[in-house]
């Protein structure tokens, strides 16, 4: 069984602390991959608001992580996604994957991010001095997800 931690909420996270919590006492995971997604600057006074679908969000993330755990030998997975108001440079999402194998840690991490980007119900609203707009989904994200579905 993989150790799984999924958090959705407004609180900031600390990569160092999450890494330490993931690996403490684990002398079998030779490989840990991490991904941090951050708010990019999109103009003066830029503020991003992350909306989500409470309940479904956690369910969707759990399903994605379970699928990753079935596909790769993972000792532990952490997924944290923030919601609410964020500023440029703030962290949005963290994915940590621990495995005996380097390739499994990398691939499972990218898999989780690719599915999170296309299946987990979060929406970004960008606001700055020029106005406000909902971020449009990128076709590229669908393409990146699809590579995991190839026969």
């Amino acid at each position: 069984m993989s150790r799984i931690r999924i958090v959705v909420g407004p609180q900031a996270f600390d990569l160092g602390q999450e890494y330490a919590a993931l690996v403490t006492g684990d002398v079998d995971s030779g490989a840990v991959a991490a991904f941090v997604g951050r708010v990019r600057d999109f103009g003066s006074d830029s503020v991003m608001t992350l909306e989500h679908y409470p309940g479904m969000t956690e369910k969707a993330l759990a399903a994605i992580v379970d699928t990753a755990c079935a596909r790769w030998p993972l000792a532990a997975v952490t997924v944290i996604h923030r919601v609410g108001r964020l500023a440029a440079g703030d962290e949005i999402v963290l994915v940590l994957t621990a495995s005996r194998h380097r390739r499994a840690a990398y691939d499972a991490n990218a898999y989780i991010m690719d599915y999170l980007k296309t299946e987990a119900p979060f929406w970004k609203l960008e606001q700055n001095s020029a106005g406000r707009q909902w971020v449009e989904a990128r076709e590229e994200d669908d393409t990146e997800r699809q590579r995991w579905e190839a026969p």
């Binding site: 679908y53 369910k59 969707a60 949005i92 999402v93 296309t118 119900p121 929406w123 970004k124 989904a137």
Partner: protein, 84 residues
């Protein structure tokens, strides 16, 4: 007649001016429901009438338009997701 609990998110929530509603309907599938809502005209037709992309979830699982709607289901309609 069945009862559905509809919820709207993000751009659609703002366009509809509503976060959700409870609807008594004969819609058998998600496609039927979407057609019924689009028939309201105005922003409903603009968003759900074919011109724009949207997603449907039934009881918090991503769904296809052909999927059946159980009585009492929570049906969410929202734009393609943009998290991460």
């Amino acid at each position: 007649m069945k009862t559905l609990h509809l919820v709207y998110f993000a751009r659609l929530r703002e366009a509809f001016g509503s976060a959700g509603e409870t609807l008594a309907t004969d819609a058998a599938t998600a496609a039927d429901l979407v057609a019924e809502l689009a028939a309201r005209g105005g922003v409903w037709l603009a968003e759900l009438g074919g011109g724009r992309v949207f997603r449907v979830a039934i009881n918090q699982d991503m769904a296809q338009l052909g999927d059946a709607l159980p009585d009492g289901a929570e049906v969410a309609i929202f734009p393609p997701v943009t998290g991460g």
